[in-house]
Symmetry: C2
Subunit: 318 residues, 2 copies
Amino acid sequence: MELGEFSIIKQFFSSCGAKKSDCLLAVGDDAALLQTSSSQILVATQDTLVAAVHFFPDTDPEALGHKALAVNLSDLAAMGAKPAWFTLGLTIPQIDTKWLQAFASGLCSLATSTNTQLIGGDTTSGPLAISITALGWLPAFNNALLRSGAKPGDHIYVSGTLGDAGLALHQLTQGSAVSTMARKRLERPTPRLKLGQALLGLANAAIDISDGLLADLGHILTNSNVGAVVYLAAIPHSSVFKNYLEQGGDPMLAVTAGDDYELCFTVPSQNIGDLMDIATSLSCPIAYIGEISSEPGLRLYDSNKNIVTPQRHGYAHF
Amino acid sequence: MELGEFSIIKQFFSSCGAKKSDCLLAVGDDAALLQTSSSQILVATQDTLVAAVHFFPDTDPEALGHKALAVNLSDLAAMGAKPAWFTLGLTIPQIDTKWLQAFASGLCSLATSTNTQLIGGDTTSGPLAISITALGWLPAFNNALLRSGAKPGDHIYVSGTLGDAGLALHQLTQGSAVSTMARKRLERPTPRLKLGQALLGLANAAIDISDGLLADLGHILTNSNVGAVVYLAAIPHSSVFKNYLEQGGDPMLAVTAGDDYELCFTVPSQNIGDLMDIATSLSCPIAYIGEISSEPGLRLYDSNKNIVTPQRHGYAHF
């Protein structure tokens, strides 16, 4: 049997080394939560992007620098954490000054705008890959946005629109014309940091959509021991994605493609008024897409109230 | 002009993103020092090992797991820090259960023996590489073992013996018989954590020898604006390395080859008595190899008191 990413972690790395009481949350969520001697909680996460696996080798290096940090900040956002610092493990086949300049520009620009500082790392020679570790802070552990906190009756929301990055990747792979907007969504995702921080105390669970909604929501369901009903008609689409659908495109792309880096989160009904106020004050579009149920499994309904059985749930790492 | 690793960092990443007052030491040392709200200092470091660059692709995966963490812990040791947690960015071409098991075993065994916990990371598909970020604690910032603290008159010491790892690499590359001891030094280095922690308040500067003594001591000299005199005859050699020398081997290998992961540190004369006591109580061999001078540059003397001009100073990353 072939192992997936999560089985590998579970089998080989879920209990590795000392069991420290100051590690409040380790392997298995978007980020690790660490008790410092202060009242704040340190948050750490690491994401690697490998050429020809996570991005086309000829990707604009400025966009790549942005994305390499953005995917990590997105993990912090999904915990409700405020980013502080990051380390950069950069592996490059050769020294290309122009490439490095552009890469650093994209990286540093996002770091500056999110008040995050590069504090170290390692630059090595080898096949192009970027591995960033981001560190941030949470005011308290008890309201962190874990994957395990969803409760039956919670309303499920997503931020922004889904499927744009997947559409761009689909078009690039097909060699067809790529919408500028979709390509921007694929190459320069915006981590939802402010939304994540505002959800502290309001949402019961959250995850960032990196592998596709069905796959990522699936992690919340598994970790929370709950199920969900999701309405395909409620999935928010951009005008570009709507165009694609009108030309006979696959609506499942919006719920199975990764790389959108929007947040998916679950909110108990009594907090929905506060949630609407937050979405308004942050000018952050959010959409209700379904509900958490006690019955296990994810039930996806089309607009005719028929159950849809997806061929795949999301991006498979292996 | 081709850039080296350090020029790349300086040119593209030394000032990247926000300038935070809570980042006490960023790019340019063995690890970053971060002010938490508590009295302790958080220490973060990241090191990447790439197949065919840092290790032979057929390296025993158990040893590789050990080494991937050891090189990071060695950086913490060189700051005097106590390790706490680490994240693992693991990139593998395919899923090989046996390989993963052995890798995890080597990794977790060192993590356990050093009271360090794996707290997260990322597993991706791609050319074999391991990027670990280690986090640790320092009791205070004012006596951390920086590269910039060396003072004229300081005695320069190294721990253990030098050249063993370089000898093993030389023998493996030549296809000649490899000593078991030298190979162990290359593949399973021991981070000098206890020594590093004991040097707090005693040593003015420290670095771990990963790229070769001359290159790494060179970083101390540059960052401290000082020079040094080093005596080739004082470099500590193992019996295996002595054998190699007796058979006409190159004595420069011990000061230019990397991968030994011993500490090189500078100690003011008034602290030398305390240093001897520590070396004894830790059963950690240390050797005096020279002195820091105000005159810039590194002057290497052979046993006839002639200046030696090395062809190279250490491992070049590009």
